[in-house]
Subunit: 357 residues, 2 copies
């Protein structure tokens, strides 16, 4: 395939977004896009380029006092009648327009066009963010080549609608189980109905008062929700087992251990099994490049409520922020789109940050 | 296959039970057993035999004042490491021992050995009672040859542990639905959680006071139970839909329409959809052959709580009772078994009823 990432395309973040969207790259199918990106980066004299699987990174080595990472994932969720891209007025539609090829375009455009940024920059384009963590390119590189990720600050170009979203909330999934005694439903008094017993679990969820926490000026709003409930043996059997899956989103002032303790407190008296947990990340506004970035953006940061890979950077000791042109509410939607004006505005902000004295 | 239902076997209800159990006849696989039974009945001079599908019936035509039906289904639930039969002491184990080849053995033994019963008797051996109603041999014959079933009284030889169980409760299945608004669970306040909304449905079930009703001296005890609950979209989505399947068992003084009205009253404010309903049957103790049967049994009748085909007989205007040697609590169990002494006692009771002046 001839590489569609021509110099003309690379010079324009909007055109670059469109071309990246039109290289299909559903998770586990990132080879083609990674090949194109790698070829471009290897041709840029001021960069040193590395590849691991379908993750491609390139770095300047200008001896600057600070190093920043600009990161974006190359994969998308499955296509949903939204490929290739289409444009109507200021809106570019298509799978990945918001999440997050517009963000990837920002980083790739700067990588090619900015030979002397104010900080040393590591441009990081990674695979498999949308699927299981074991495939995630950021995780894989952190394990295989941790030195590639050494930095003082990371900017993750996930969709934030042009606002700086700081840190992220943690997330924990757990299963609360109720048990009973099976019986024929025609003689139900011989049994104990485990579904009826789940009423109390749902009552506690319904009455739960979620915390709101302000950290470094950023508001985080927690939530605890049943996301699944299943119970039942057969149409004529009093069921002896019911499971409520609970998703707890917690502010980054709580560790996963603290979140679990709280969850167990809420469901005291019930069997609680934690099935999955990911820590949150503190806002990360203190690093000097972060402060200068915030100065380059004209709106104050807000707390990031969804979980993103900023938590992985935070876990590596690298403060990180989310900033991207896409609307996070459109991510994974069939009518996913991005505002072209937001791509242009974001590119200007990033350029200003990396070039102003 | 040589017919294992030899004269020696037919002469002994216990041996006959064993041989019937050892002819595998899981629902929809009743041809072999129906062939054996049909061949036996056609060889009995005092009977006229008919067949419809794998349902076989035979009748005396002695010009008696009353006609009674002795009915039993030939099929069993699927085998569960309990085939063929085994015997330990007084207990015969195996699929169908209780439900209901011991009952079938009663009827077949009497059909062959009793040339001049006190009433005209219709011996009715039918297919597919354990599965969907559309395959049920009683239903099929009632539609195709209703005259085969003309009678003043029916005795259904389903397991009752040797006690007369009168009538049966009705059963109704319904789905109570709660709805909400989907949202990402990281921003759950944008949504309305339909699973949390189901708490009130479960609270009402948990607090439900079931009726107890006495009809003709028989106690019926109602019950209302969640038998299934399902809700959930994905691990990170506030769900917009939750369904609670409710099984209502109602005493035979209520029609299905009255039962539905009650159900809708209990779940006022929720969407209720009735998916399935079967009427109960009044005790049916008034027909003269029923009275004489009760006199032949040495224990008073009790209300039948489970739903059985007596309700189908009742719907045809034929009062019916349940009476069989098996333990109803063992039906469909892997360790299903029948007490051999109960087979002998039941056979004596039936013989007494059909022969005493």
């Amino acid at each position: 395939m001839e590489n569609p990432l021509t110099p003309e395309v690379l010079a324009d973040p909007v055109e670059l977004t469109r071309v990246l969207v039109d290289i299909e790259s559903v998770s586990r199918n990132e080879k083609a896009i990674a090949d194109c990106v790698e070829q471009v980066l290897r041709g840029v004299p001021h960069l040193t380029t590395y590849r691991h699987g379908n993750t491609v990174m390139a770095r300047t080595d200008l001896g600057r006092a600070s190093r920043v990472v600009l990161a974006g994932h190359l994969d998308t969720v499955p296509l949903n009648n939204n490929f290739p891209s289409t444009t109507r007025g200021d809106l570019m539609y298509g799978c990945g327009t918001s999440d997050m090829k517009s963000g990837v375009a920002h980083a790739l455009h700067l990588a090619v066009t900015l030979p002397e940024p104010k900080y040393d920059v590591t441009y990081f384009f990674y695979e498999a963010e949308e699927i299981e963590s074991k495939y995630n390119g950021l995780t894989l590189v952190a394990e295989a080549h941790p030195e590639w990720l050494t930095a003082d600050f990371a900017l993750l170009l996930e969709p934030t609608h042009g606002i700086v979203e700081a840190g992220c909330q943690g997330t924990m999934r757990s299963v609360v189980t109720t048990t009973g005694v099976r019986a024929h439903s025609a003689r139900s008094w011989h049994g104990v109905n485990a579904i009826h017993a789940a009423a109390e679990v749902l009552n506690r969820l319904g009455g739960y008062e979620a915390r709101r926490v302000t950290i470094d000026g950023c508001d985080y709003r927690e939530g605890m929700n049943a996301v699944r409930i299943t119970g039942g043996v057969a149409g004529n059997v009093v069921p002896d087992h019911c499971e409520v899956e609970v998703n707890y989103r917690f502010a980054p002032d709580r560790t996963p251990a603290e979140a679990e303790a709280h969850l167990r407190e809420v469901f005291a008296g019930f069997e609680v099994r934690v099935t999955d947990a990911a820590p949150g990340a503190a806002p990360g506004l203190d690093a000097p490049p972060a402060k200068e970035f915030l100065a380059a953006v004209d709106a104050p940061p807000i707390g990031k409520l969804g979980w993103t890979d900023v938590a992985r950077f935070a876990a590596m000791g690298i403060p990180a922020l989310n900033f991207g042109p896409g609307d996070p509410n459109l991510a994974h939607h069939p009518n996913e789109h991005v505002e072209i004006s937001k791509i242009r505005a974001g590119a200007e902000t990033l350029h200003r940050w990396l070039t102003l004295p």
